[in-house]
Structures are given as C-alpha cells and as structure tokens.
Symmetry: C2
Subunit: 343 residues, 2 copies
C-alpha cells in the first residue's frame, strides 16, 4: 500500500530528500512554491508518512490533542474531520477528548494530554469554563495551543472563529424581514465568547430595525442545551409568556433540535405560529419537518486552518511574531422553518 | 470541588482505605456487595479519583484507547458517552481515534495507541478491515482488547454486540405486515459482522413469510454510506429497476439518512410509494419528514458494558477463564415512514 517514499518524491521532482522531507513537514525553511509542488505530488501519488517512524526520529510524539465540549454535535464532529484530514497528511496523530461541558473534566483532559506529551493542543472551551489558569500556565511553559470556536479573550495565541455577530445579525434580520417582531434568543451561558457575540448580533439587528430589546425574550441554558430538561424549561418559559415569541433564534446544534422538539410536542405550527432559525451544522436540516433554516459554520475548513496554525507553532516555535485570529463567515440557509410571513 | 477522599469514604463506611481503594478500582478481590456500597456512596458524595495521581502510583497509564469508524455517527457518539461515563468514574482517561473506515488508519491508530502505552483497547472494526493481524499480535502480547458492534469472529476476547439478526428480522417482518413485498436492503460490505447478521435476519423474515429472496434488491455500500455518491448510486440502481422496491431497510445511520435524502430529491412519497426503516440512533428521528421508523441500539449501555469488561481484563489479567459475548436487543420504533399499508 505505502510504496512511495520520500526518496521517490525527491527523484521525481529533482529535489534533495531533505527538502522534500521538510516540505512535507510544512517547515518554514522551504518556500511556499516548493511546498505546494511537493505536497501536490505526494497527494497525487498517495504518499503517506509513517507517524511512528517520524516520532522516533525527532523525539516528538507527533500527536495533537483536541479538547471539545462533545463529539455528539455535528459542528464539532465535522470540525474534527477537518483537523484529522490535515494532521494525518502532515504525519500527526489526533487524540480526541471531550470535556462534556465540564470545567473539571477540561482540566483533567489537559493534564492528561500534557502528561502523555502531545506536541500541541486544539481547544474549544467548555460552557462551564471561566477560569483559564490551566491553559495560561501551559502557554507560559511553551506548549503550543490554538483555540477555536469558543475562544478566550484574554489569552494571546492563534484563534479560529466564525463571525458570530454577523451570523446572528443576518438570521435576526431575516426573521424581522419575514414579519416577526417578538424574536426570542435561546443561547448558552453568556461568558462564552460565542454566546456574547451572537447575543450582540441579535440585539444590533433588533435595534437597527427599530425593535426594542426585551431581556425576557433571551434564555440562557447553562449546559448549552446538553440537558434536555434545561432546554425544555427555557422553552416553556417562553411559551407561557403573556406575549409569546413569534420566532426563535437558537444558538447551537442541541438548542436548535431541542427547541424544534418542544415546538412539535406542543403542536405549534412552524413557521406560522413560531418561526425557527438555528445555528446548526446538522446534516439532515433539509429532511426535518419543516426543513430547517440554519446558520451554518464552515466547520471542516475551520478545523483545517486551526490545525495548520497549530502545526506551524509546533514546528517553528521561534518564528511567531504576532498571533492571528482567523474569522470565517457563516452561511444562512433559508428553508421552510422561517419562510413566508406570519399568518 | 474534590473535597472527599478515599479516607473519608473508608471512615464513613467503616472499611479500610485499601478496601475502598480496591472497590473503586473494581478489583476482583472485593465482593460485589461491598463494591456496590462503596461505589454508591462515592457517587452520592461526588467522589472523583485523580487519574494523574493514580497513574503515577501504579505505573499504568490509566487510559483506554477507543478506535471507531467515525464519530459523526449518532450510534458511535452515544456509545462513547457510555464508555466515558464508566471510565471516568473508575479513574481512566478515554482516548478516542477514528479509523474513517480505513484499514490503514485503523492500523496506524492501533500502533500509535500501543506506543503511547494505553492499558487496553476498545475497537469497532472499519468497514474495510479484513486482515486482523494487528489485533491478533497485540492480544498475544497480552494487551487487553474488547470489541464492540463490528466484531471479528476469529478473535477470542470479550465482545459486546446487538442481536442484529433479530433487529433486522423484526424490521423486515414489520414491513411485510404493513403490506410491502419488494423490500430492498441497503447495507455495508458483507465481510462486516453486522452486515452479515442483518442480511441473514432480512432473508429469514422474507423466507418465513413466503417471499422469495432476490439478490438484486440488496445493495452493498463499501464505505458504509460514508461516500454520498456511493449511497446515491445504490439508490438510483434500486429506483430504476423494472420493479422498484416498495420498502427499504437501511443498515446504518448514514445509509438511512442518505436514503431519505435520495427519496426526497426524487419526490417519492414516504411511506405511500416507498416505506423506509433504518438502523439509526439519530436523535431527531421523530422530527424528520416523515418521522422515521428506526431500529435503535442501546448504544450508551453497550459502551458502559464494553468498558467494564475491558477494565476487568486490565485489572485482573489472570482471572479470565472464559470470554463473554454480551448481546443486547434492539428496539423497533415504528413511526410514519413505514406506517399504514401501501397505497
């Protein structure tokens, strides 16, 4: 299966084996053009590095730890596939851990990964993490860490995010334009970066369209919708208001499907009685009843860029003059759950 | 947060600290009643072992490697949550790897996990794995391995499975009883244990109901539905048959949602023109259009029992006289996608 070697690539492209080897490791010593040439040829010929051999040779573990809140979430599982596709092609193993939205488990995962000598970490914070000392200490000690999606404001490193403000703004404006006025927002704890940004986009869209912001239409789920009961309680509060919402903007995968489920159980017609838009990367959005309007994040690409930034930190630790925050745009996929105007 | 110690538990229950410690490690030296007492009290008091400290003390890594085909699959992500819930409470870390249905990556993951000194492995085979030498060698060297879901017939160790034959039999019989006669079966490669068993259950139900088995109604997807194109091609073949099926039994999460998607695209009425039943643990089955009849597997419980068996192998390596295969029953959740008789 793995018949092609670095030597074969070097011979074919008329380069030295050390150039090919460094190009494949994405080394900063090799120029972009040569890297592209080598990588494309390697891809074409199905070249695969041997991670164990690499690991023995340069005394690194050639592995990357990934800590996410949960894998049973379409956004995160797609993101991990993005991470793995690049990591694997560069000869790194990807070790996946779940924090289950628990600060304690996030800390335990971090300690474990460090004790097992991963070369770097990719992290999306748990919804219950407010203290960041476990990451700050590691960064001080020189451990490369890149944050994605749920990122800390106070730690300086590479970050990969989406423009949550804009995604939320566009979704809210879409609901307003389709005639909704009492738009509720179902979201995660406010100390998460993504929750703050999505709330801000929602508020700005209301303001720009002359609708007063009403705090009672915003519900925070402290476990990010992980607990069904929490989700249902928030929805029941909204539904039993004197003036219940005529639309809901849900801020995560789980919150969106939880919300849809509660609306079904209560026999509420979507979108006639309540329209629904959710931040979700669920693969079956168009197969739901009704087809769901979704704010979709480019999860695969985010994962690819996050790991690329991390591997750059790992392999060229002294070349970082300035950290980047890469921001991606979300896409609003309008479907029946928010289409048409209010009846 | 972690204020309660083993000493506190020992004092409260009037046991020695070493008994409590061994009970919490699920040691065979402690009887079941005492274990239950200790574990329940520990649970009640939110006792949490410190995996790093445990690891230093007994020179084991206190970690378990899990290799699954993919995490973007409801069955596997629920199963992993089952594994983690037990592993964490017994002081083990869970390290998750995806094979992406690739034999090569399954081997690479296995080698990596062994090189990082995990204490044992939990494995569900990739759809492209036919050669098992990488696992056989490890078992010979004494590495504890428990297989689940997609298990090898030829390796002797603990296994956790569902009764795929019965699950498939019941689903097929349900379709026959609702008036369908041309029932197609969309499945994974036949050398996977689950595919063989599901095919056998399907065939037996046809036979018991006097319907001749027709090989042209069975379609194999070699990547288990991971490639959309593969899935679509199989469906198109079925739809363009002179006598297209009036029902489909899909054998996995991805095959089921892929099939539903193709039926939607072709504007085929479900269940009137074609009824659909799928092996799937998707959380939104009842929110789909139409609500989907599903063969559901007790994924969480399977994960819990698999890790329990594995930890027993790890901690009491000499006490195994005979390996077990634990088999769970599936549940058929009948919903609109297969309800009512043919129009």
């Amino acid at each position: 299966m793995e018949t092609i070697t670095i030597k074969d690539i070097a011979r074919a492209l008329n380069l030295s084996t050390s150039t090919v080897s460094r190009a494949l490791r994405n080394s900063y010593e090799i120029n972009a053009e040569t890297k592209k040439l080598v990588m494309e040829y390697a891809e074409k010929m199905h070249y695969r590095p041997n991670p164990i051999a690499l690991s023995l040779r340069d005394s690194k573990s050639k592995s990357i730890g990934v800590i996410i809140p949960e894998i049973a979430n379409n956004f995160f599982s797609q993101l991990i596939n993005g991470i793995e596709s690049i990591a694997y092609s560069l000869g790194y193993h990807t070790v996946i851990f779940q924090s289950h939205e628990s600060y304690e488990r996030e800390v335990a995962n971090t300690n474990y990964l460090v004790s097992r000598k991963v070369d770097g970490l990719l992290v999306s914070l748990s919804s219950l993490t407010t203290d960041l000392v476990h990451f700050e200490e590691l960064i001080e000690k020189g451990m490369p860490i890149v944050f994605f999606d749920r990122v800390p404001n106070d730690i300086e490193t590479h970050k990969v995010v989406v423009d949550n403000f804009l995604g939320s703004y566009e979704a809210t404006e879409h609901l307003i334009q389709s005639g909704r006025r009492r738009i509720a927002h179902l979201t995660s704890p406010i100390y998460l970066s993504i929750a703050t940004e999505r709330l801000a986009g929602y508020k700005k869209a209301l303001e720009d369209n002359g609708i007063a912001f009403d705090e009672s239409y915003v519900k925070y789920c402290h476990h990010g919708g992980k607990l069904t009961t929490e989700n249902e309680a928030a929805m029941q509060e909204l539904l039993s208001m004197p003036e219940p919402p005529d639309a809901i903007l849900a801020a995560s995968d789980r919150l969106t499907s939880g919300c849809l489920s509660v609306l079904h159980k209560n026999h509420i017609r979507i979108p006639e009685e309540i329209a629904l838009v959710g931040f979700t990367n669920i693969g079956v959005a168009d197969l739901l009843n009704p087809p769901l309007t979704a704010v979709v994040q480019p999860a695969m690409e985010m994962g690819q860029q996050a790991v690329e930034l991390l591997i750059r930190l790992i392999e060229n630790p002294k070349k970082i003059s300035k950290f980047e925050t890469r921001s991606f745009k979300t896409s609003l996929m309008v479907r029946e759950s928010s289409a048409g105007s209010r009846s």
